[in-house]
């Protein structure tokens, strides 16, 4: 348990470090700024520090980083409060194992293909034209719900290993959000991770029938006949 607690602290610190470095290296203009005065040339480290603090690009990066993190967390909080039962079902479906997660990813990828194709083909007929927008919205909302469940379950899983599971679900969400957000900030790999995360989220939401926990079935219609 003590090992897990140490691990969580290390993971959280690593996540913060990744975010800090990504914001710092997102814009390298401060690094190439000429050292104007003689004193600055004599102490380049101080000059670079000053340049770093004064650089507008770096400031923007940090602002965007903070805004993104807070927005993602707040969206998660909103989903948790709006549909707690559904998030609970989705989180339990995720907790089964890695093979299930791969299954959800496969569902998400195939579903994205189906929705894209149906959306594209729907524009050929006048009465199905709004389907493109409707399907995009549905896919986005389903993915959002799934991503929140994934984030919450990651945080909850880690905290329960460390014996801190008695805390608020918001703590689990905060930890999961910090880790996932840091992963998505890694240059080049971040976009790939983000796409995988959202596709898996969509897969989880659809596999659990938008968190209802009921199976997809047309049995009631078969009973009619």
């Amino acid at each position: 348990m003590k090992r897990w607690r140490m691990m969580i602290i290390i993971i959280a610190l690593a996540a913060v470090l990744i975010m800090f470095v990504s914001a710092l290296l997102g814009d390298l203009t401060w690094w190439s700024r000429p050292l104007v005065s003689r004193t600055m040339v004599q102490s380049p480290h101080r000059a670079w520090r000053l340049a770093l603090v004064k650089d507008a690009g770096v400031r923007v990066n940090f602002s965007v980083l903070l805004a993104g993190l807070v927005t993602q967390f707040m969206a998660g909080v909103l989903v948790l409060y709006l549909v707690p039962r559904q998030v609970h079902h989705m989180a339990h479906a995720i907790a089964i194992g890695w093979r299930q997660l791969l299954r959800y990813l496969a569902i998400g990828i195939l579903l994205a293909i189906v929705m894209a194709v149906v959306g594209l083909l729907s524009i050929l007929a006048l009465h199905t034209m709004p389907l493109l927008i409707v399907l995009s919205m549905v896919f986005f909302l389903a993915s959002l719900g799934g991503v929140v469940a994934l984030t919450y379950q990651l945080g909850r899983g880690l905290l329960s290993q460390a014996g801190w599971s008695e805390g608020s679900p918001l703590t689990s969400l905060a930890l999961g959000t910090t880790i996932f957000y840091a992963i998505t900030r890694i240059p080049f790999f971040g976009w790939f991770a983000l796409v995988l995360l959202w596709l898996t989220g969509a897969g989880v939401a659809v596999a659990t029938r938008l968190g209802s926990g009921k199976p997809w079935s047309i049995l009631p219609l078969m009973e009619d006949s």
């Binding site: 299954r103 189906v114 194709v117 524009i123 050929l124 659809v206 596999a207 199976p215 079935s217 047309i218």
Partner: protein
């Protein structure tokens, strides 16, 4: 009082079970299972072939789809948001015009070959989704 079922049982001729009844049932069950396995594998093969054919047909046409998507940019979105701040009704009208133009451009670009490719791609994808969704539930509850 004799039940109607008792009367019926008296009428039914009593015949001995054929000696190979169990073997016959087992053979029929094995045949049925083999047939359904063959059918499932056949459907999977057809789906994979349809998917590959769809991708093969789609590859040369990707440019048309990308050119339609490229018209939506962050700059245009920013322009539209600032227009919303100025006058929401005008911005909404503009958006509907842009949407109609974009959709008509895309529809004009959708050739028969492309539509066929998209259809060929969608069917195996949908089959995959259904298979994956119904793999976790019992046969009675299955989607198909």
């Amino acid at each position: 009082m004799a039940d109607w079922l008792d009367e019926l049982l008296e009428v039914i001729p009593v015949e001995p079970y054929p000696p190979d009844l169990v073997a016959q049932v087992q053979t029929r069950l094995a045949n049925s299972r083999r047939w359904s396995r063959w059918a499932r594998n056949g459907v999977r093969l057809v789906m994979v072939m349809a998917g590959v054919l769809g991708l093969w047909l789609l590859m040369p046409k990707v440019e048309i789809l990308l050119s339609a998507v490229s018209s939506i940019s962050l700059g245009r979105l920013e322009e539209w948001l600032s227009a919303v701040m100025r006058s929401p009704s005008d911005a909404l009208l503009d958006l509907s015009q842009i949407a109609v133009t974009w959709v008509s451009q895309l529809a004009a670009g959708l050739e028969a070959e492309l539509v066929l490719a998209l259809g060929l791609l969608a069917i195996p994808a949908l089959y995959g989704v259904i298979s994956l969704l119904s793999s976790g539930i019992s046969q009675e509850e299955a989607i198909i």
